[in-house]
Amino acid sequence: MPTFKLDGKEIPFEPGDSIIRAAARQGIEIPHYCYHPGLSVPANCRMCLVEVKPAANQRAMMLDIVEWDAALGDYRPVQKPKLQPSCQLPAVEGQEVLSDTSKHVLEARADVQEFLLLNHPVDCPICDQAGECKLQDYWLDHQKTQKRMRDEPVHKPKAVVFGPTIVYDAERCVMCTRCIRFMDEVAKDPVLDMRERGNLNEVFVAPGRQLEGHYTFMTEHVCPVGALTTKDFRFKARVWFLRSAKSVCQGCATGCNAHLDYDPRYNKAYRYRPRDNEAVNKYWMCDGGMLSYRAAHVGRVTAAKVKNKKVANDAAVAEITKRLSDAPSDGIAFVLSAQHSLEDNWALRELARLAQGGKKDLRVYVTGAGPGYKDDILIDEDKNPNTAGVVELFPTLRPFPQLIDEIRAGKVSHVVALGGVTPRNDPEDATALAMVSTLIVVAAHEGALTEAAHVVLPATSWAEHSGTYVNRQSLRQRSDKALEPQGASRPAWEQLRAIAVALGLEPTWTKLKDIRAQLAPTSAEPQAAPVGVPQGKPSVAPPTAP
């Protein structure tokens, strides 16, 4: 690999890399506002300026400036080299670049910082970005001087409602155009632009339009400062009290990688943020996915129920034992859920095997959410995070409508199901489900199945346990635990184990790691890039970006 030198350190680069990108790959951050690895390069913030040493036979381009010489009582002419934006500058073999070791670069950064804060309202206490704002971080890293401009700053529109989800504050805006470029280049809806000129510039929404669609939250996410805020997160939390768990969005089969931010003091999830993964979601998530963190608290099953009456888990398990003891050995249907993790589904499949004594022809069905909107950006029509996972576990799965048909035909009298939701909202389904003599549901979320169930056991949601999900690319992705289990909920695999034990079976798993050890390894290992997706391009965003 070719290399160049950054502050004396050899930096390998790929053809086409800019200096900033190649440095980021090595974990070296060159400060920046407008540069975003997933967007075009406007080089407008000028924070990333670096000094390039001229080649042996060339002279540096020098600029005439002045210094104030107090002793002399006059200006003294001095020169400085012309600096280059490292976001725009292509890496060149053997080139010597100075960043942190150039006095001129440090000066330029301090200047840009000072310029950016010149007319800034510094309303940090009431800004949601506080604590994760580049203006704050870079003031400390690159400026550290008092404000020299003591006059009233330029005033601009504040709390401008851009649309149903986003609010804009022009005074906090650093005019980096990231939001504009995101809407144009990624969301393919160029609804934002810049208007006015000079220090009156402001971002605006095309007349007659709103900032709307499936990717509005990303504008807030790419905004390096607090100029764009989401109505959802506005004035809800101080980010320094939040902790993050590496999560996988449960919204659809795309399986976008995400950070689930939660407050451990209240055991409460506050938001989702994309986690960069070049192979899956790059740097982005859709609006539905961004809001899906709410599912950690909304529509949850947190207590066991027998015939719709809350009971203790033990009592529910006893009821299950009673109801299943007289089940015909070929009359029990097991329903996996594309909404639950690989581990949960594996446990149910094992329970089926054990309960039916190694019979070959198991009745295994699948449920999950029905199809929905899709696009060619991120959103998949399959609204389940783990369809590929359940198919992998049990390739001869029978679809949910077949379960309904077979209940109607009297072939199924007992059902053990995972997950609450069913793929369609059909009143006939409810009638059919009411026909079975026993419906046992282990679920994290309410749905048609929990409604019809005779016994419900509460399962933890994806946010409360570690789980594996297989996305549409057959990529196994791990989602970490963020919250503590809510109410009486336990991981579904644990609840299924309790059922197995109560039935007198001998479960082959006690802990999560037992399941993981038995999960057949597949061609696609956790987090690996699938075939057909360019390899060698892990997250190129610096750890603090965006």
Binding site: N44, L63, W68, Y75, L116, M175, N199, N201
Partner: protein, 457 residues
Amino acid sequence: MLKQTNYLTKVYGLPEGWTLATYEREARGYQAARKVLTTMSPADVVNEAKKANIRGRGGAGFPMGVKWSFMRPHPTKPAYLVINADEGEPGTHKDRTLMELNPHACVEGCIIGCYAIGAHAAYIYVRDELHLSKARLWGAIKEAKAKGYLGKNPFGKDYPVEVYVHTGAGAYICGEETSLLNSLEGKRGEPRLKPPFPAQAGAFGCPTTVNNLETIAAVPTAFNLGCEEFSKLSSIHHLNDGGVRLFGVNGHVKKPGVYECCVGLTLRELIYDLGGGLLDDKALHSVIPGGSSTPVLRAEDVVHAPDEKSPLHAWHGKSVLDVPLGVDTFRNMGTMLGTCCATVMAEGTDPVACFHNLMQFYRHESCGQCTPCREGSGWLLRIAEKLMDGTCSMDELNTLHDVANGIMGNTICAFGEGTAMPALGYLKKFRKEFEAYVKGERKGKDARLAVGAWGQS
């Protein structure tokens, strides 16, 4: 050396001087284009043009022929010639006279330019308020077309050329060539990043040459005389600065205007011989040599060039007013030739008020794209306003050069330098006057920008 010529301006005073008939009768109209298209290959034209040593008249002074030679045929895309007639630089008023009074020279230059660089279309970008300029250019295009000099077969040659006039809304930044291209394409007038340069990806992403209007209008004359002969008209031909050009003079002179001379004219000649000296025969205070972005020179400034290798050495120790107005001579004097239109200020003009006036302009015209220029131009004006108001502290005065230093070289386009250079120029040369404002010895309400017959302001 004062040598007035009338190659470009012969038709200026004539009745119907802007018509094809006059142009052909008086100024060898379209002979150069005919010769070029019917007897020369495009490569020959570019080589010949280089010998003319026409330094770009838009401000940067880049050699025109060399710029033309950057154009390479693209396998699929057409090439364009774009003529920059935005002329927004304060104190600059030469291109307008050509458009109004000698539009055919512009059109003929476009035909030769298109042929040389492989373009079949030229766009002349004119600001909206110049109604007469646009009408005269369109009139010339129509006449040339009717004669068969433009269109499918100019001069019988199978090389189609069309010329269009494009109206801009009138923003200084749209004179910056890449901003102009954005504006031409119907986009917001913001400068583009370079590279790619216009020759690689210019108008509509196609290879493009951007020439100033006067640059292109000088081309027919160069080819009529023979390019080398044309270059030799200049007394600084040896500095690769050739031919004749338009010299503008404005401000506190008796005869402000535009004069055509051989390159090599000095400021003293421009101000006193052509401009008729200062109003009320006042003493000269200072002069901005070539548009507002070029740092100011004081009447008493002398050349400091002890180094024998300096192109200025010949004038070492002499007054700056006696140095030939050339691209390299003026660059080495710590200012620039710019657009070669000098703004003259008589004794009594207040330099701090001049500074304030300029900073108002730059604050207003910054496109706001990049941080140092957007915020820095506003800050410079803020301090200038406080100076004028008498509320500026010594600390703030001592901040001014820091602000300008922070803009210098750190921006996307040359507007940044165009703001910082004149700011630093005024500070360096008039620090005492600035201090007088801080100390309250001078006051904004007494400051004068105009003198004599024009009254006070």
